[in-house]
Amino acid sequence: MSSSEKTSAVLQGASPTPPALKHRSAARQPVQQSLALSSPDQLPADVREPLPAEITVPPSRTLVRASIKEHLWLCIYLPALPLEALTDRKPGTARAVVEDVQGIRRILLANDKAFAAGIRADLSVNAALSLLPDLNLEVRNPQQEERALKSLASWAEQFTSFVSIEAPSVLLLEVAGSLRLFAGMQTLWQRIVSGFGQQGFTANLALAPTPLASIWLAKSGREVCIDDHAHLNGHLSALPLHCLGWPVSVTESLCSMGITSVGDCLRLPREGFARRFGAESLLQLDRALGRLPDPRVSYRSVARFCALHDLEEEQSDRELLLHACRELLLKLERFLLVRQMQVQRVQFRFFHLRVEATDLVLGSVQAGRSVAQWFELLSIKLERTTLPEPVIAIRLRGGPGQLLSIATDNLLFNTSVKPRDASIARLVERLNARMGDACVRGVTTVAEHRPQYAWRSDGLSGDAPRCAAMPGFWNERQVPALLQEIRQTNNLLLRRPLWMLANARPLASEQGHPFYQGRLTVVDGPERLESGWWDDDGIARDYFVALTAKGVYLWIYQDRSKNAAWYLHGFFG
């Protein structure tokens, strides 16, 4: 077989996962050797040989140049998902997943150790237990599988914007546009396989120009890389029918006619094939060969992060809890990094066995995603929180994500410039975390005659304009120096005290004269303020500057509306 130029498009590798992780499944059967091939040289000899343990990817230059217009579908088939989706409680033991088939519990999948002991798929539970009495049997959990598949799909979103979940155990990635970024198919392939391996999943990969072809190839266990429609026919023809996932009745009747591979089907007349085996089967063949379009639904992962960490036993040690929280924050960081997002608040919930869960909400002035930022806030806040009971589980929820925005730093030619502003946000966060939200305020003036409304206090969190300098009082920046001087020399400045009382304090008075720690001497005034008649808080006051016997300057007023009572409103400080 002289097919050296075609082997370049064929990937002859197996997953680089260690043999111990490899599982045997019912769906994976040895490649049939007795295929009636239409043109035998279209199938490279290497494919039929046992799969080598080490991944070897052919020179992938052609794949890097793959045109964006052409789609390339990478199928990730998870043959052992029912087993791997269940958490392995006792590593190193023989395990098997069982499923109810018409009321009889049968083995669906067994791990390596069980397989070595002779446990095979379709074996009844009793037979399996008689073979291996300490076999750990677990019932198949479709919800768990779905969850695992979704989390893997979210993980795979880092490679492409189009990930499709094909239940029950297939992920489809459209990678034509990603090849350049990931430096070719070889690196992409390796990253995906090793990534799945790290998460404890066995993956069979196959690449083809149509989604269905890649699924069939991956399910057949041929880890091939086809980037050209021209090669598709030859590779598909060799596929045995059981990989296609067609109904058993169709496959059986085809087999009884001696038709065992896709190539055999393709040689049958179309009309008769559709009539005898259903239009659906013909449609699938056409789609697999790219004769008909095959649209897929893209999976969109959740926009908000939420993860639960189960502690093995009740835990009250802060260090251990912090460690668990750190793991969660690491997950959050990865989640956000993939999406190029950041969050402004996160919520920790500590679950207890008997009492209600404790919530810890961390807010930040500047949205962020780094573990260090949130961890510091958490440790400050946790230190101040008393947990009523030991904790059994921790849940972390990220707030609504914001698109990552990175402020451009000034190019600091002048090294004497200290970038002081940059991290005031971190100080505010730290203070808020320990002392409660809104303990740190900024202040600003408001254009208003009534003294109590002439200012405002703003929280420094969020994107609220930070102390926007309100026009109102004389802002020295806006008033020319000369004008300022004229005002000062002619005593035109309205004198305002540096200390303001939140509520004016009534003053004792004797014969209409105010007293505060002795008789007051009026130094300046009156300044008459009558304003606010349009709302409920109108004032009619005469303000004076008064001096106490101890030399303290006060800002006092006489209320002209309420029997001329005197009030203390501030200190000149």
């Binding site: 002081r420 100080l427 900024g442 002439a454 030399g551 000149f572």
Partner: protein, 220 residues
Amino acid sequence: MDEALEKLLKNPGFGRAGLWRGQSRASDWQGLPSGYPGLDRHLPGGGWPQHALTEILLEHYGAGELKLLMPALARLSRPDDEHDREAAGWLAWIAPPFQPYPPALVQWGIDLARVLVVHAREPNEVLWAAEQALSSGNCAAVLLWPDMLSNAASRRLQLAAEKGRSWAIAFRPLSALSQSSAAALRIRLSANHQGMELNILKNRGGRPAVVRNVIRDYAG
């Protein structure tokens, strides 16, 4: 007598022997001009000690303690150089006894965009917040009104101020007079109807002194 002494001290032999003259470090630091020449004269470096703790002791708040600081704080919040806006530091007010009134702050020339007011619910939070603000390096000045300030706490504040290159100002009641403190400068402020009297009790690199009538006007 003084001349003879100065002559003797200028002898290079003294310099080599490393004779400490008490005031020798005064010229090492640049003081922050207080805006009141009468006070600056008595302070080493010609102004408030930057990057250190200053304590102001007074009978009751409102006796003129803010006026004393305002020109210096205004200078910190608005550097002379327009292009040097980035260098302007924040002014943190931690647990003030009353509300600092923004219109008056503006009149004194303070940039409100650089003012942080921190309200503390517990006494020990005041010191914690002050230490955080001082050592963050963002605050040019941190004003705090602690209920209690032990010698150890004042030392921590002093160290935090040095670390963050920030000016710490603690306002304390007269009862703190008998306590020792690590502050670089301690001033007792008293007011009577004739004016304000500043009694410099402790003055690192300078001498104790009494200054009268530095501030004549009650506002701006």
